[in-house]
Symmetry: C2
Subunit: 406 residues, 2 copies
């Protein structure tokens, strides 16, 4: 059994790194704050006698050897990076719970059959460089390393420069190595478990999604002298596309997701008709077919709005992920562990993207969810109870043990 | 007669201060670049033997004494600050043409009866602190000095701090002193003179306007897990208000103006439903009654959109200026000067706000416009011909002489 209090204390210690005044966390990927989180994680791992490797995209692997050197490792983990104004648990829970698994094994002097490895994936959030699940996606070979290194943040800093800047461009190849299984514990980030009073979510898969970058080009012009007929207002075009994204989402019912989360008016000034606007767009849905339909139809609709306003639109699809089912065997280990521990459970599809989604393409994978208050995440007010964290970590511990000793 | 080549050379020298790669100017008010423009202006004035005073809001006055000490001064000038990506002539033309007037009087050894004063007004553009015509408005007593000092830019720097930072918080009171007249030469910033092939615009007044700041508060939430029914999307509300502003503008025909020029998604992230959006709104029209009607109706319409989206709106009216007619006597001096010089002319209402609008409340005022290419302004591509600048400066020179010697 894991130690719930030790788990919580370490979660709170990690939450101090990049703590915000409103009780959240700002630990943006590959910043100095992220480096402090990574350094702390490495120190904790090394104190347990674990050897930490870093790969070329900054993913960190902390290995504990097993009894049988011929066995493939069982992986588990999550991410330590956060949203610009994120919560204390999104990502950190899975990493710190993994650490608690390692500590418990050491305390109990348990040697597993297979080796086990705890992972901290780089840039899961995607908010800085535009590719969520970046570290796991590069590891899984979905994002090419050179292209990923060249991605830029809004200030023009590349992923490669940022990795070097914090000293986490590691020497190990960023590509999949043979592994027996991957388990990830995460907060649900949605309202379902809380609403139904379930302690543990058995995640059977994750929904499909497609992300875009949009650039609208109009013409800077004087707000006082430029008549309606002469305007090429890039922000008006963006506004109408934002409305379209919302409409397309609602047409798909309560499972629809469509979001413009980031928008910048270039060289904005109060008395200037905007000449250039850049923004992000993303759609999600549990069914791949719905995302395919949106990806086929949305660009032309957005284009039509831009053309009507005489403000050309450049739309770039950043990535598209189909619905990802998890491995029935691994999911079953989670189900059995939760049952053995007596927790109330529910099967659930993940609304968020997770590193597990990309890892699942090469390694049998499952995820465990715990409830979070009001379903709120990507918000500084994100909140969970210590017992909820403990329940998730217990299930994680049992599932890993079962798999590593099978 | 003024020297067109010397005028152009000084315009080009000023345009080098804050020059942008695309041929425009970035000389934002009260920045170090603005200081360099001011220092250059002061150096030029002092080389002519003019005494330069600076008032408490940073307005600069360069005085040339007249023959009759009992006469009130004739004022003229414009502004040296620019938009973030502005043009070389918006503002600078009126100041540098004023300098050319001074140079010509010195060359020709002309003593005017009344003293004359060339002014460089602080922060005409309004793009940094949200109040256009800030220096002239403070001088005219429309903006209170303490409130103006406390205005903040997007980084939280106050006007008072910025003035001290560049050493231009002067010792003279920022309030109207008795003056005989004010003349301002400016590019039209619109398409009318060019379209009709007129060399000089006789400006009879300026249109009414109202400016707002808007803050929409929604709730940060995960883009992948938050269903349509649970969203409080601040950007969607802003988008619909942007659409409303455009609609209200178009309903008022070709004289209508409605612009959202500046917008910021606070803590924006691609996979976060926006929790806070800040933006600017402004409306303009030649008729005061139309602006009054908009100021009476728009807030409730915007409010209704915000309420329907469950994202409260805080709307702050920054200022409201009625239509400002100019002084018939001063306008007539401009008309006579242009006729004497043989230029083709047209009477015109200013679409842009100008320092002349506030000065006109306490001093008899008139303005002179020159055409600009494609009517384009608040754009780096803003462009005029040397002959156009020369024509405007000739008219300015003659109007000032006529008034100062009447
Ligand atoms: N878990 C999580 O919030 N991931 C961020 C990537 C996404 O789903 O947008
Ligand atoms: N002349 C000019 O562009 N003034 C800026 C103030 C405004 O009209 O918005």
């Amino acid at each position: 059994r894991i130690d719930g209090k030790r788990l919580w204390d370490s979660l709170m210690a990690m939450a101090e790194i990049g703590a915000t005044p409103k009780g959240g966390v700002r630990r943006l990927t590959l910043t100095d704050v992220d480096k402090r989180g990574r350094d702390q994680f490495r120190t904790w791992c090394e104190a347990l006698g674990l050897q930490v490797r870093v790969d070329a995209i900054g993913n960190m692997f902390a290995r504990r050897e097993g009894r049988d050197p011929s066995r493939l490792p069982v992986l588990f983990g999550s991410h330590l990076d956060s949203q610009p104004t994120g919560g204390k648990f999104d990502g950190a829970l899975g990493v710190i719970a993994g650490l608690e698994v390692m500590r418990t094994l050491n305390d109990l002097n348990i040697a597993t059959e297979a080796p086990i490895e705890l992972v901290n994936w780089t840039d899961e959030e995607g908010s800085r460089f535009g590719h969520s699940l970046m570290g796991s996606g590069t590891w899984a070979g979905i994002y090419g390393l050179d292209k990923t290194y060249a991605l830029k943040d809004a200030e023009g800093v590349t992923v490669g420069e940022a990795l070097e800047g914090i000293g986490y461009k590691g020497e190990h190849a960023a590509k999949p190595f043979p592994a027996d299984a991957y388990f990830e514990l995460h907060i649900e980030q949605g309202p379902i478990l809380e609403r139904e009073g379930k302690e543990v979510g058995i995640v059977t898969g994750a929904q499909a999604q497609v992300w875009y970058d949009a650039v609208v080009t109009g013409q800077d012009a004087h707000a006082g002298t430029t008549p309606p007929s002469a305007r090429k207002d890039a922000l008006l075009t963006a506004a109408r596309i934002i409305d379209l994204v919302d409409k397309l989402m609602r047409e798909r019912g309560d499972d629809g997701r469509g979001t413009v989360g980031w928008l910048q008016v270039v060289n904005a000034s109060r008395n200037v008709v905007p000449g250039e606007v850049r923004f992000s767009i993303e759609f999600r849905h549990p069914e791949t077919a719905v995302i395919e339909e949106l990806a086929a139809g949305f660009p032309a609709m957005a284009e039509a709005i831009a053309t009507a306003n005489r403000t050309p639109l450049e739309l770039t699809q950043l990535f598209k992920i189909p619905h990802q089912p998890f491995d029935p065997g691994c999911v079953d280990l989670v189900r059995q562990a939760a049952a053995r521990l007596g927790y109330s459970t529910r099967e659930i599809i993940s609304g968020a993207g997770h590193d597990a989604v990309y890892v699942a393409r090469s390694v049998p994978t499952a995820m465990i969810f715990t409830p979070c208050k009001d379903g709120l995440s990507h918000n500084e007010a994100e909140s969970i109870q210590p017992e909820e964290a403990e329940a998730g970590a217990q299930v994680l511990f049992q599932a890993i043990l079962a798999r590593a000793n099978r």
